[in-house]
Amino acid sequence: MPFTNEQLERYSRHIILKEIGAKGQKKLLNAKVLIIGAGGLGAPAALYLAAAGVGTIGIADADVVDLSNLQRQVIHSTNDIGKKKVDSAAETMRAINPDVTVNTYYQFVNSENISDLIKDYDFILDGTDNFPAKFLINDACVMAKKPLSHAGIIRFKGQLTTIIPGEGPCYRCIFKNPPPKDAVPTCKQAGVIGAMGGVIGSLQAMEAVKYITGVGELLSGYLLTYDALKMEFHKIKLPPRGKGCAVCSDHPTITTLIDYEQAVCDLH
């Protein structure tokens, strides 16, 4: 289908880039990206992917918008407090770009539903805030051979990597298991600087766009860390995939999905 005049104008700053062009923009419009978590990371990623014209964006989250979210979760507004995050996010994305089809999933991901959730998407973006979900998403993406952007943020620090199953290392290559539940006694000192989600979530969106359009080099095989206080980015080269990894080696010992126990902790 040819571009409409409105699309030509809307995406003109993409189309004019020789690396993207009309062809790349078509790829974006035909692409399907799933964002798991509509919080600090997922919010900016969803905004940029919707604006970029990613044709289908799925968003999964089981939370409702809380006043304490608004310091960083820029896809939600004060008027959205009490709404399901997925509905609030979908409204904002549709308002930015009516080209985008938004699928909402008001649910926590678990070992029962995740394979079904990811199967129709080309690229998965992990914007979750807990280790059980991060390990589950990694394992499910490795097993289903779905490319994944993994990220984490805390205080003034953030990090991300891109996982291309069968090619580069996965999350479990770096961290074998989640930290034990009893290592988490209290959450009262928790905190993260709001713009950190913007930095790292935008980088995740950038990786999704690069993967879809085939432009440049992905952050596969590297962990990129960002320290806002030192204003330093550091790119750590990771060992090759699979060596002794329980899920992505050629002889995996983990072949079914695991629901790790979530530490009891009020995340608000």
Partner: protein
């Protein structure tokens, strides 16, 4: 001898082990850190016996959640 720690060249004692470097660098949550030396992960059970060599490139890789949970682990870890 000189080694590179998280991208920065440092002068350290000859015969330094990974465990000693972790302590010297005040690594947060040492019980959960992943260590790579020259782009290979070191088994956490061998931190005490792994002796670093001149020119080694060491990286520390940390668990990072969504801005909440890991904070408390860090609090916990630093109390030990």
């Amino acid at each position: 001898m000189k080694i590179t720690v998280s991208g920065t060249v440092k002068e350290v004692a000859d015969g330094l082990t990974v465990s000693q470097l972790i302590e010297q660098e005040n690594v947060e949550t040492p019980q959960y850190v992943t260590v790579s030396v020259n782009e290979e992960f070191i088994e956490s059970g061998t931190f005490d016996t792994h002796i670093l060599k001149e020119g080694d490139e060491v990286e520390f890789l940390y668990f990072m959640g969504g801005g909440t949970i890991m904070q408390s682990i860090i609090q916990d870890g630093s109390d030990e």
